[in-house]
């Protein structure tokens, strides 16, 4: 980023944090990938990704297995570093965790009660009774308030994933990265979870990045669908459809068709 724009950025941020990449001048930006490449040995997984996402957008990332979409998410969450190119992150707000990651598996601690598992999401943000209260609040929002003191092993797959969602959201993340978190659920539970996720996203206004295999899921939830193929962005499609969306509507179906054409055309 040129020095001139950096100084312009500073004035936007209430508490200047020089070491941190700051938000862009034009409106609030959640994060931006600029020419990001990622190689593992000889294998190039991501090959020049440019992606600029404003705050509050719901982005779905689609692609065939091994196209690099999970790697993109791991870069965003700071689990990996790009080989070249840059990743700019938005400003961090006080008392909020920056990026939360929701895994494909629930990854709950079997030896901690449901509410204690949710409190893991407040590590470094809150503790004691305050943490418990916040955890119970968010458990109420995912409909599991009455299971707070049970062990995770007695919950169903969908319930476990709801606890994992509560854990990801309890710290009020600015960016929520979701790595196919609904992939292992049955079809009906999955639709329920999609609706829950959409409801909470509308209420909390975080930026969501959902990696998925499911094109219908992507167009039902996202403002914008990014198709990745051979490590590049092959399609960047806006989905300006009013919410609540009706599954199977012609508008969604048309976009779904376009994405499928891109993937298999």
């Amino acid at each position: 980023m040129p020095a001139a724009s950096l100084t312009a950025v500073r004035s936007f941020v209430t508490t200047p944090a020089p070491a941190r990449p700051a938000i862009s001048v034009e409106g609030r930006r959640a994060f931006a990938f600029k020419g990001v490449e990622k190689r593992f040995g000889d294998k190039t997984v991501l090959d020049g990704i440019d992606l600029d996402v404003p705050v509050g957008q719901f982005v779905a990332v689609i692609g065939k297995s091994g196209c690099g979409k999970s790697t993109l998410l791991r870069l965003l969450a700071g689990l990996d570093r790009p080989t070249s190119g840059s990743l700019t992150l938005g400003a961090e707000e006080e008392g909020h965790s920056r990026t939360r990651f929701m895994f494909q598996e629930p990854r709950l601690l079997p030896w901690a009660s449901v509410v204690k598992n949710v409190e893991v999401g407040l590590t470094g943000l809150a503790s004691g009774t305050q943490a418990r209260q916040r955890a119970l609040d968010i458990l109420g929002k995912v409909g599991l308030a009455d299971r707070a003191d049970e062990w995770p092993s007695v919950l169903s797959g969908g319930q476990k994933q709801r606890v994992a969602l509560a854990r990801a959201l309890v710290g009020h993340p600015q960016v929520l990265a979701l790595d196919e978190p609904l992939g292992a659920l049955d079809a009906l539970t999955r639709i329920e979870m999609q609706q829950l996720l959409e409801r909470i996203w509308i209420a909390q206004k975080f930026t969501a990045v959902l990696v998925t295999h499911d094109v219908a899921e992507a167009v039902a939830l996202a403002d914008r669908v990014v198709v990745i193929s051979d490590g590049r962005i092959a399609l960047d499609l806006d989905v300006p459809v009013e919410r609540p969306r009706r599954r199977g509507s012609a508008e969604l179906a048309r976009r779904e068709g376009r994405i499928l054409d891109q993937l298999f055309g």
Binding site: L79, W111, V120
Partner: protein, 258 residues
């Protein structure tokens, strides 16, 4: 689990020993089993009463238990500490694991002649043997437990901002605990076994010594009594370990209906 089901479940385990005792008594009284081969349970009970009154039994049980626990504390804590260190640090594991695996393959009771030469028949000899015997099951299982902690959970902990301390106490240690308990129960068995052998061979007090003395004077009832007491002490130690296990592994599916 209610108290009565607990009692019923444990009660069933005691049914067989009681039946065996009853059969044994009947066989002895009928003369099927000569008293110089195996005395009747009532004779053993008499011996028990006699030795309790004289205070000899309590004193010997006390001496043996103190030895067992001291050796267990020393060997167990070194094994636990090394298991943790080698589970958490590849450097530490690289340095010590090969050596420890070599020592592990020596039966520790084979060292008895050497130990007697080093320590005579003093307390140190027993302590050393028990500590050595207890060390390996605790070490091996602690190491195994830490190595088998789900790496996905560790990654989750890191992503959610846990520092090393939090990661250890909230993810790694609880994950390793089931294996550590397996090691603990195994070690308790080895603890009694080692002590019996050590006391039988070289001691001037303790249950093993009491049994050997009784053999000299052909007091078979006392010999049988010592064996029974060993069985009871072993069972007691195992029950304590199981209680601890039940209390700390309440989350584990294996303990939720048990």
């Amino acid at each position: 689990m209610s108290f009565s089901t607990h009692l019923r479940r444990n009660g069933i385990g005691w049914l067989l020993p009681v039946l065996v005792l009853a059969g044994w008594e009947v066989a002895s009284r009928a003369g099927v089993m000569p008293a110089n081969v195996l005395p009747a349970p009532s004779a053993v009970a008499e011996a028990f009463w006699r030795l309790t009154l004289s205070g000899e039994l309590i004193r010997n049980i006390g001496v043996s238990t103190a030895r067992a626990l001291a050796g267990f504390a020393v060997g167990g804590s070194i094994g636990f500490a090394l298991g943790l260190a080698n589970g958490l640090s590849t450097l530490s594991r690289g340095l010590t694991d090969t050596t420890l695996q070599m020592i592990r393959n020596i039966p520790h009771l084979a060292l008895i002649p050497l130990v007697i030469l080093w320590f005579g028949i003093d307390e140190e000899a027993k302590l050393f043997l028990v500590a050595l015997g207890v060390f390996f099951p605790i070490y091996v299982n602690t190491l195994l437990g830490i190595q088998s902690v789900d790496p996905q959970l560790v990654e989750m902990g890191r992503v959610y901002g846990m520092d090393r301390r939090a990661l250890f106490f909230r993810v790694i240690l609880p994950g390793a605990l089931p294996a550590i308990f397996v090691g603990l129960r195994y070690a308790l068995g080895i603890m009694w076994l080692t002590l019996i052998v050590a006391e039988t061979i070289s001691a001037s007090s303790g249950l093993g010594y009491m049994a050997m003395q009784a053999r000299e004077f052909l007091l078979i009832d006392v010999v049988v009594l010592s064996i029974l007491i060993y069985a009871l002490l072993g069972k007691l130690a195992d029950s304590l370990a199981r209680l601890l296990e039940r209390l700390s592994l309440g989350w584990h599916p294996a303990f939720q209906n048990g």
